[in-house]
Symmetry: C2
Subunit: 201 residues, 2 copies
């Protein structure tokens, strides 16, 4: 069972950094917002400008990590997109590590896609429970994860409150699974309909 | 046959406006850049700030329509994303209409997805050739197009140098088709591989 706040409106943080894979970030943000989930695009860089993503799309975040106005503990989910450089920055950020570990311990949704799964390892989530945790990632970082987790090759892997996925081409499935877990499967179906996907949920 | 410059590097303009569907814009930009196509994200708004997309993602464009530094005639393709409000702005912009009509007449790629197909009609492309033109769009705008075009319901429709598609969930197919047409099918396959899509090309 996934823990969530009693509020009707669910809230999710999507962390971004320079080098974040923009498709993985934007598809997730957009699909969750279509489901009326409040999404905060939270940058970890210290600058106050736009974030330059992996293919040079520049995104203006909603807030920066460290902004006093951001009450991270009020959120129901935290999401780490991929992109090698962005995922490295997020994995190496002590505050991001803490947020992931705390959300996981509180049974809130912790989600990562592509190279973003490396942040799950950096946060030490694999040491939080006595049994091995199932996870997936982009194949390019499998070797960095396979000894610490039960490595799966499914397009989306849900293990308790940990949700992981593989790359840009699995992001719609990843985001819709998050909608199912945070809101409902009916909401995920309702959101999927007008998007003209090539799969059913 | 699609006309293209003799230069090795292909160049594409993606128009954006406030209300553009961010998934459709970003997936297209990212996939084309993965194929080493030079993409210019060109905003039509007169402001110099970020563009606020349909689900409130804020994107900083590479340039604004009217910038002297932008030599539109040097590009090989022009692409119109959807999002109701963004597509309306792009459709109603006289300069965008001219670019679409000129590129079409010059046998360069003219591409639109979702409500973006409305800009094809506004540009009067349906009147440029003696035979009816095939096109698709998001189903929500079909009624505005079906009397002027041979309306198709395929996920991507290619009619000579006009390429159209349906919505966020068809954007990977749309972008990869543009890569095939601008570069090669081999390049599209090479780019598709690491993205972990759920279809073959």
């Amino acid at each position: 069972m996934v823990s969530s706040s009693t509020s009707q409106v669910k809230k999710a943080i999507v962390f971004i950094a320079n080098g974040t894979e923009e498709m993985e970030a934007i598809i997730t943000i957009d699909v969750l917002r279509r489901a009326s989930i409040q999404v905060l695009v939270l940058a970890v860089e210290t600058s106050t400008g736009a974030i330059t993503c992996s293919r040079n799309v520049r995104i203006v975040p909603d807030a920066y990590l460290g902004d006093d106005s951001v009450k991270i503990s009020t959120y129901d989910a935290v999401i780490i997109p991929g992109g090698a450089d962005g995922a490295a920055t997020l994995s190496q950020n002590a505050q991001v590590n803490s947020v992931l570990a705390e959300f996981y311990a509180q049974n809130k949704i912790v989600a990562a896609i592509c190279a973003g799964s490396l942040a799950i390892k950096s946060a030490g989530i694999q040491n939080k429970v006595p049994h091995p945790i199932c996870l997936t990632s982009h194949p390019s970082v499998k070797d960095q994860l396979k000894n610490d987790f039960v490595y799966k090759e499914d397009r989306v892997v849900v293990d308790s409150n940990l949700v992981t996925s593989r790359g840009p081409g699995t992001t719609f499935e990843f985001a819709l699974r998050l909608v199912s877990l945070l809101v409902s499967e009916d909401k995920a179906r309702e959101v999927a309909g007008p998007m003209m996907l090539n799969f059913e949920i």
